[in-house]
């Protein structure tokens, strides 16, 4: 067991890593369209040094080697709407009623009896202009087959998922008119809709380095098949809607699917985790060590490489003697964009039930989470903030 004296040099190492990594300008779309797991989201996505379940395929393949039993993860529910979309969906019934009432009127614009309906519709329009509508749904399946002999171990696994992530947001442009209609005339709309299917294999190994010190390393390779539709390079404005070349630049309103770009590609992630007793993990992970997606008739999409250093300390295991049935995991991750993610998970582990609460900071945006694990059912919720907006995230995982 490591003492607090030995922890301080490790903590210093983590802190040093925060300042030595080279920085690049972050691309907003990269975090946006990255497959995330709800447990990790609750703790600021600072998960690379933990990665002790099927999510290791996405956060750090070296974590596969730390899994001791054969494991099958099926996640039939993974639903992540943005706050704004969630709010818009909540009063959808009212919107439908208002539209029906206006539709049935012979003079919908001036009928004095429909003033409230018109007002609500305009208020909703105002809200929409400030809203960030996003939805992320997915269906991942992972299987991990570990083999451990003594302190050494290997694991192989496979993953597949069907995933869709979309976002729609109005971008403010021009003079700041107090009248929202005038203000909105030159605003532009950003949209990005993406559907992906992916399958891949991962392999990891764990070797002992010294007493209570192990090193794990792993790699995961994925085949990616992606469909996307976006105006990220040429945002859509009112003048574009009226322009003659609208269909060529954006989509055919009568057949939007015809404008979807289809791409195929691959990505390879690699990572390592150094474990110091039960209490401390240090990790380095390279996401998209190699990777690109090729679209027909369009420029290839190079998947941006990201190197991250991460650390996790289980404070409950640091105390002497260790606190039974309790995990208090403090985790940090910093990547090559010099973006920092921090998280804390408190878990109370009973024989058949585990309850956990999480808090985190994702690049400075607050995250919260909670989880209940009952037998093979694992329900997680997260309230997740990123540079664009806030999200509700729900998942139900079946872990066998």
């Amino acid at each position: 067991m490591y003492t607090q004296k030995t922890i301080f040099p490790i903590a210093s190492l983590i802190l040093a890593c925060l300042f030595v990594l080279p920085g690049n300008e972050p691309l907003a779309s990269e975090e946006e369209f990255q497959f995330k797991c709800v447990r990790a989201m609750g703790m600021g996505n600072a998960f690379a040094a933990i990665a002790d379940d099927g999510d290791a395929f996405y956060y750090n393949p070296a974590g596969l080697a730390t899994i001791r039993d054969i494991r099958l993860d099926i996640q039939p529910v993974r639903f992540i709407p943005s706050y704004d979309l969630y709010d818009q969906l909540k009063d959808l019934e009212q919107l439908r009623d208002d539209i029906n009432a206006l539709d049935e009127s012979e003079n919908p614009l001036e009928d004095p009896n429909l003033e409230a309906e018109r007002r609500r519709l305009m208020d909703r329009m105002k809200r929409l202009l400030n809203d960030d509508l996003g939805i992320d749904v997915g269906f991942p399946v992972r299987v991990i087959l570990p083999l451990h002999i003594g302190d050494c171990g290997v694991a192989i696994g496979g993953m597949t998922h069907a995933w869709s992530a979309s976002r729609l947001e109005a971008q403010r442009r021009g003079l700041d008119w107090s009248d929202f209609v005038m203000d909105a005339l030159d605003d532009e709309v950003y949209y990005h809709a993406m559907v992906e299917t992916s399958y891949g294999v991962g392999a990891a190994a764990e070797i002992p380095l010294a007493r209570s010190m192990e090193l794990s390393f792993g790699v995961v390779a994925r085949r990616i098949h992606r469909w996307r539709m976006t105006d990220a390079d040429d945002l859509l404005g009112l003048d574009d809607i009226l322009a003659d070349d609208f269909q060529e630049r954006y989509f055919d309103p009568e057949d939007p699917w015809a404008s979807v770009s289809e791409g195929k590609g691959y990505s390879v992630d690699a990572g390592t985790i150094g474990s110091f007793g039960d209490a401390v993990n240090l990790a380095v992970v390279v996401q998209n060590l190699m990777g690109s997606v090729k679209y027909e008739g369009e420029a290839d999409e190079e998947l941006s490489q990201n190197i991250a250093v991460s650390g996790a300390v289980n404070l409950a295991k640091l105390s002497n003697p260790a606190v039974p049935m309790l995990d208090v995991i403090l985790a940090a991750r910093v990547d090559s964009d010099k973006e920092t993610q921090l998280g804390l998970e408190l878990a109370w582990n009973l024989p058949l039930l585990s309850l956990s609460g999480r808090i985190g900071s994702n690049r400075g945006y607050m995250t919260l989470g909670a989880g209940i694990k009952l037998l093979f059912l694992d329900f997680d919720y997260a309230l997740y903030g990123d540079q664009n907006t806030n999200w509700h995230a729900f998942s139900l995982n079946l872990a066998f």
Binding site: R118, L175, S178, D179, M182, L185, D186, G364
Partner: protein, 277 residues
């Protein structure tokens, strides 16, 4: 876990998470504008609000009820409001100059913003002209201005002179001396109104009547109501030719007002010199 470890945990959490919570801040100035332009627009809107003018379009059907956008003449007969218009025009021109500037990507402002400012300026010039005419004839009533916002066959403002003034004109033997039926202030208001509406120059036909010059041939007044509305139509026409056609129909409304002013001015003994277009 000991009390010491618990306290350490709380301290670490406090250090780590509290300072780390960022706010998503909208940029102060959106692309396509400048701080000066936004500030000038805000001041212009405040001046318009003070004058009781609202061009709000956020009630569906606002454009179906132009009487809500075009104030009644009696509401414009106010010296303070006339000052509000002048200040609003000055601020709108500042905003326009800013967004018509260029940066690496071309003209800073969007087509719609430039068109909307021209549109506002066009209205301001009209209201200012009406305001000047109505303010000039106190205490007696010389100018009679009717409000016809919904009458498609007549301009928004139909103006004439009062029966007393008409009687005075009729009693004047030499038509060249008709301008003398108006006071100095009234003649000035007619000259200013012609300049505001049409950039036209007015002078009495009779050379012995002391000529007067437009008091709005200066900053911040540039162009005229017609010029600003034509600019707005031309800019909106970049979106869609049908939009320009619709706005040109709207401009014919103003042409009616201009033609009426020209006809009356010539009846009242003035030479009306329209601008070279």
């Amino acid at each position: 876990m000991t009390l010491k470890s618990g306290a350490l945990t709380v301290f670490v959490l406090w250090c780590v998470f509290l300072p780390g919570c960022s706010e998503r801040e909208e940029p102060t100035v959106a692309p396509g504008s400048t701080l000066t332009a936004d500030d000038a627009l805000r001041k212009a809107e405040a001046e318009l609000a003070a004058a009781g003018i609202s061009f709000s379009l956020d009630e569906p059907g606002a454009l179906m009820n132009p009487e809500d956008l075009i104030p009644a003449p009696v509401d414009l007969e106010d010296a303070e409001k006339q000052l509000n218009f002048e200040e609003a025009i000055a601020q709108l021109n500042i905003a326009l100059a800013e967004i018509e500037g260029r940066d690496e990507a071309g003209v800073i402002g969007s087509v719609s913003d430039r068109a909307l400012i021209h549109f506002h300026l066009g209205f301001m010039y009209c209201f200012d002209a009406v305001s000047r005419l109505l303010l000039s004839d106190n205490p007696q009533e010389t100018f009679v201005i009717e409000h016809n916002p919904n009458d498609l066959d007549n301009p928004w403002y139909n103006f004439d002179i009062s029966p007393d003034t008409q009687a005075e004109l009729n009693a004047t033997e030499d038509p060249l001396e008709y301008p003398l039926a108006f006071t100095f202030e009234e003649r000035q208001a007619i000259i200013d109104a012609a300049d505001l509406l049409d950039d036209a120059a007015l002078k009495p036909k009779e050379p012995n009547i002391q000529p007067q010059f437009s008091s709005v041939d200066r900053q911040p007044y540039t162009g005229s109501a017609i010029w600003h509305f034509q600019k707005a139509a031309s800019l909106f026409g970049q979106y869609e030719s049908e939009v320009m056609d619709a706005l040109n129909t709207f401009n014919e409304e103003l042409e009616g007002m201009r033609a009426l002013l020209q006809a009356h001015a010539e009846e009242w003994g003035f030479i009306y010199t329209p601008p070279v277009r």
